[in-house]
């Protein structure tokens, strides 16, 4: 039976008031704690996802950010049908994920970590052939996709090596290829570059970008590497303590996160932090280099003042790094009273 596409509209992913609660068992440490737990086990419900709502358009790439335990992975697992929601509504490619219909599973993929689909003791090519059979991929499409992936991911020379003998980066490339061999229309990528070196991260990013463009695929990506997010996503969803706290583009996130721009100075004569403090906040001085944060609305005025009043060799104005924006955003929320706790990873 195909999914009920009514209400899904044109969205590739439609989420309304999505909720997920876990029962967590608690035990005091030590022998006595074990005895008490044996006689009467304490448990409580933790709300990992608390009424999340959003839509993703076909072909859209969205960065899904949040601190550890915020509910990112739980949300992705519900969107891919691995977890059943406690409440709310989800439609992915027009299907209800929890039903795990074959037609739905042929349209999505979820990549988590580097030991997922590949058969450990056999060459990666064997795993690809298994996926070809399972997904019923016609020979011509299989050959074309393999050629495309081999070129973009640089799989030449590693397809016939035993998986257990591949390097971490090589294995991740093969995992990605295995996960996308059936050309899914919706990709959920959970930390796809974690543990990889810089070159390999770049290679994975380029592959995802290329796949998105070639196949107009919708991509939802979580990553602790902000370079992944800034390179791939135009839209950012931020989740914290199970709630979406931001939905918009990177520039707006920067504004919401602090509202300031970073001014970098190269000075000809040293200046003290007190001198620079008149022009902005968060002043850092390192010899003749200095950095300070200036409110967006006052950037022109303060830059002109800096050039006029100090002996400046060079001045640049930049958006703050996304890391600092996120730190300030979550720092501000952590300070608010009555916030629910974050759930333990990897729930």
């Amino acid at each position: 039976m195909t999914g009920d596409r009514g209400g899904a509209g044109d969205a590739a992913v439609r989420v309304r008031d999505l909720r997920k609660g876990y029962v967590v068992h608690e035990k005091e440490p030590g022998f006595l704690g074990s005895l008490r737990s044996f006689v009467s086990r304490k448990s409580r419900v933790v709300e990992a996802v608390r009424g999340v709502s959003f839509d993703l358009a076909p072909g859209e790439v969205v960065g899904f950010l949040g601190p550890n335990g915020a509910g990112k992975t739980t949300t992705l697992k519900m969107l891919s049908g691995l977890l059943h929601p406690s409440g709310g509504e989800v439609r992915v490619a027009g299907f209800e994920p929890g039903r795990r219909e074959n037609a739905f599973l042929r349209q999505i993929t979820l990549v988590m970590g580097q030991k997922q689909q590949l058969i450990w003791d056999l060459p990666a090519l064997d795993s690809f052939l298994v996926n070809q059979a399972i997904y019923e991929i016609p020979d011509a499409q299989f050959r074309a996709t393999m050629a495309e992936f081999t070129e973009v991911l640089g799989l030449e020379g590693i397809l016939k090596k035993q998986v257990r003998k591949l390097s971490l980066g090589e294995r991740m490339k093969c995992e990605l290829a295995a996960a996308l061999l059936h050309r899914p229309k919706v990709l959920f990528l959970d930390e796809p570059t974690i543990g990889l070196d810089v070159n390999m991260q770049e290679s994975v990013r380029a592959f995802v970008q290329d796949y998105n463009v070639r196949h107009n695929a919708t991509v939802m990506l979580t990553s602790h590497y902000m370079a992944d997010v800034t390179a791939l996503a135009r839209r950012i969803l931020v989740i914290d303590r199970g709630e979406v706290v931001f939905d918009g583009d990177l520039a707006r996130l920067a504004e919401q996160g602090g509202g300031g721009k970073t001014v970098r100075l190269q000075l000809r004569r040293p200046a003290t932090p007190e001198e620079l403090g008149r022009f902005g906040s968060e002043v850092r001085v390192d010899g003749l280099s200095a950095e300070l944060t200036v409110p967006r609305a006052l950037v022109s005025e303060r830059a002109a003042a800096l050039l006029a009043e100090l002996d400046v060799a060079d001045l640049t104005v930049e958006d703050p790094s996304i890391e600092s924006v996120m730190a300030s955003l979550f720092g501000a929320r952590a300070g608010q009273a009555g916030q629910p706790e974050r759930t333990p990873e990897p729930a």
């Binding site: 891919s80 049908g81 599973l105 988590m112 298994v130 059979a133």
Partner: protein, 267 residues
């Protein structure tokens, strides 16, 4: 239909290649499952010391034939799926399998069938060796062999399904391994691995006939030993077919309900 045949062929070929990587371990594993052979030595010694050289109609060579047959059939019934499911559910490695449009059960079926093919040659060599050493002598009735093989195939299917359902209990419990061990004990006892079923108290025999175990293990062994008839094999096959249907439904229900409990932790 062609797609289904292609899937089955690729899955089997891949799993066979995987199992062939572990051929040495498969042989060692076979040697570890020698309870029947130990019991063979015990009962042969008892029969040799008994008045008339027999216990309840079994001479030492007949005990050798029975227990060697039990060992041979038990090797065809080996199932490890509950351990795998227990691990996969607790560690979350079931998740990647749930993302593919195929019931993960068929991947396990392919692994077990492929392993049986890797096992068959060293198994026959070992049976030949133990036959020569113990003085066992198998039946010369040709029909007993396909009948025993058919019962073993049905028995494997029944055992696979109930072990699968046991493994799925990990959706609810910390570990399902303890359930598996209890059920194995009943399987070994009522299957006749410790002694022929006729040696047990009558009330045990009356209970045992309502279970699948005597028909999946003891009956094919008795066929090979020349101590069972074709009619008994036919009745045994019918009983196993009923249990197959029961466990098919049980597995399906436990799977569907269990998936709603799945936490997908760890992966």
């Amino acid at each position: 239909m062609r797609a289904l045949a292609f899937k089955a062929r690729v899955l089997f070929a891949t799993r066979f290649a995987e199992m062939a990587e572990y051929r040495a371990e498969v042989v060692i594993w076979m040697l570890s499952g020698t309870l029947s052979l130990v019991m063979m030595l015990v009962w042969m010694a008892q029969a040799a010391a008994a008045p008339g050289g027999q216990i309840r109609g079994y001479s030492a060579p007949e005990f050798a034939t029975y227990f060697l047959s039990t060992w041979l059939v038990s090797q065809l019934l080996v199932v490890w799926v509950s351990h795998e499911l227990d691990f996969q559910i607790r560690q979350g490695t079931l998740s990647p399998q749930l993302l593919r449009p195929v019931d993960p059960m068929w991947l396990h079926v392919a692994s077990h069938v492929a392993e049986r093919l890797v096992r068959i040659v060293p198994l026959l060599v070992m049976v030949g060796l133990f036959t020569w050493l113990s003085g066992a002598s198998f039946t010369r009735e040709w029909w007993a062999y396909p009948a025993a093989l058919g019962l073993a195939a049905l028995g494997f299917s029944v055992r696979f399904l109930y072990e699968y359902a046991i493994g799925l209990l990990a959706f609810w419990t910390e570990s399902s391994a303890s359930f598996q061990e209890v059920v194995w004990l009943v399987y070994a006892a009522l299957g006749g691995m410790f002694a022929p079923l006729a040696f047990y108290p009558e009330w045990v025999q009356r209970v045992a006939v309502w279970t699948p175990f005597p028909y999946m293990l003891g009956l094919p062994a008795q066929l090979l030993a020349g101590k069972a008839t074709l009619a008994q094999a036919g009745r045994g096959a019918l009983v196993l077919l009923v249990w197959l249907a029961v466990f098919w439904v049980v597995r399906l229900i436990v799977w569907r309900v269990g998936l709603r409990k799945y936490g997908a932790v760890g992966a």
